[in-house]
Symmetry: C2
Subunit: 211 residues, 2 copies
C-alpha cells in the first residue's frame, strides 16, 4: 500500500514553487558576476527575448515535468494565478513563457540579468496581469513565499528574477529585488526559487534510546 499511496500522492499533489528565505541564499556560495553569459535553451541556442519557451524540470519520472499556469485551490484571484509543475516527464507540455528584460536592449538573455517572466498565452483583458510572475506574501507555515502570478512588467514590484547556471545541467532561478530597488544587484541578495512537494510518510515506532 505504501507504494500505491506514494503514487497516488504524487499524481494528486500540486507542485507549487517557493522563494526560500534569504537565510539560505546568504549562505549560498554564488560566483561573483564576471563577463555576462548568454542563457541557452535545451538545444544550446541563445534565448530570444521575442520568442516563447517552456520551462522544464531536470529529472526523470515524477521529478521531470513542465511548469504551467494553474488555478490555486481556494484562491480569491479572478484568474488562474498559481505557478506549478507537472509531476511527470511524459505529462502535458507546460504553459509557454517569455523572458522580459528591464530595458528593451538588443538580443539575448543573459545570466544574472534582471528579468520579468510572463506566461505567453492568449487571455482576457482581466487576466493579463495574471500572466506575469511574482513572488507572493510570506507564508508562515511554509517559511517561504509562494511563486504566483499577478505581477507587473518593468515596475518596482516583487516580479524580478535572475537565471543562474547550475553546476550540472540547466539553470536555477532566483527571485531578486530588481533593477529599480537594487541596480546591479548581486545574486546573493536574491532568494532561490524551489518547490514544495507533498510526500507520503511511512514511519516506524522506536524506543526512546534506540537508534
Amino acid at each position: 500500500m505504501t507504494k500505491c499511496s506514494s503514487l497516488l500522492l504524487l499524481s494528486l499533489c500540486l507542485l507549487p514553487f517557493v522563494a526560500f528565505s534569504s537565510t539560505f541564499t546568504s549562505q549560498n556560495p554564488i560566483d561573483l558576476p564576471t563577463a555576462s553569459k548568454l542563457v541557452l535553451d535545451a538545444t544550446g541556442k541563445a534565448l530570444d527575448p521575442r520568442a516563447s519557451y517552456r520551462i522544464g524540470s531536470i529529472g526523470w519520472g515524477a521529478a521531470g515535468g513542465d511548469v504551467y499556469l494553474g488555478r490555486t485551490p481556494n484562491s480569491t484571484a479572478p484568474c488562474p494565478n498559481g505557478v506549478y509543475r507537472y509531476n511527470s516527464d511524459v505529462g502535458p507540455t507546460g504553459t509557454p513563457v517569455r523572458f522580459v528584460k528591464s530595458d528593451h536592449s538588443g538580443p539575448g538573455i543573459f545570466e544574472k540579468q534582471d528579468l520579468n517572466i510572463q506566461f505567453d498565452i492568449p487571455t482576457s483583458r482581466l487576466c493579463v496581469t495574471y500572466t506575469i510572475w511574482k513572488v507572493g506574501d510570506y507564508d508562515a507555515s511554509l517559511g517561504a513565499r509562494l511563486l504566483e502570478t499577478g505581477g507587473t512588467l518593468r515596475q518596482q514590484d516583487s516580479s524580478w528574477f535572475k537565471i543562474v547556471k547550475a553546476s550540472g545541467r540547466g539553470y536555477n532561478l532566483f527571485y531578486c529585488p530588481g533593477p529599480l530597488a537594487c541596480p546591479s544587484c548581486p545574486v546573493d541578495q536574491c532568494q532561490a526559487v524551489g518547490e514544495v512537494i507533498q510526500n507520503a510518510f511511512p514511519f516506524v515506532v522506536k524506543l526512546p534510546n534506540s537508534t
Copy 2:
C-alpha cells in the same frame, strides 16, 4: 552549485506534516477492518500505552530522521507548536511521544484504533496543550492541513489519528474524525498524513514544441 544548493536546502528546510485532502484518501485502497492487530515497535514488540516512543521516518539519508516538536516560523502560539521531521537519519533523536487511547482500556495499541498523540516531555503548565497533536486549519496554498500541536485529549477535536500498517515496513498515519464524531469510523473517512518538502529546482528552457 546544484548539489551544494540542494544540500543547503535540505539542511535548512523544515519538514512539516500535512493531512492530505480526502480526495486522496477516498481513492486510497484500504483494507476493510478485520481482526484488530497490535501495533509493534521497530524491534517487533507490542506498543505499551504507558511507555513513550519516538517516531522515525523509513528511509536513508535525508529521507530518514525522527519526528520532533519545533517552533513554527512566525507562529503566534506561546509555545513550540510544529510537528516536524529531522531530515537526516544520523541527526538528533526526536521528541518522545505517547499514544493515548480514547478509553483507558487495557494494554496494547491496535491498528485502526482511535488515538491521540502527545509529545511526552517536561513542560510548563502554559505549554501542556502544545504537546498534544492536532491537525490545523486548511492551508489553501498547500491544499492541505498542517499537523501541529495545541490539541486536546479524548475530546471532540481535530486530534484523532489512526495507525495503519504499510504494505512494506512500518506504518502510515491517518487523521480521523475520532470516536465521538464518528464511532467505529472506517479508515476511508480519514486523511493520510504526509509531509511537505522544499526542493531545489534546476530547470532547462525548452522550445514550445520540443519534448
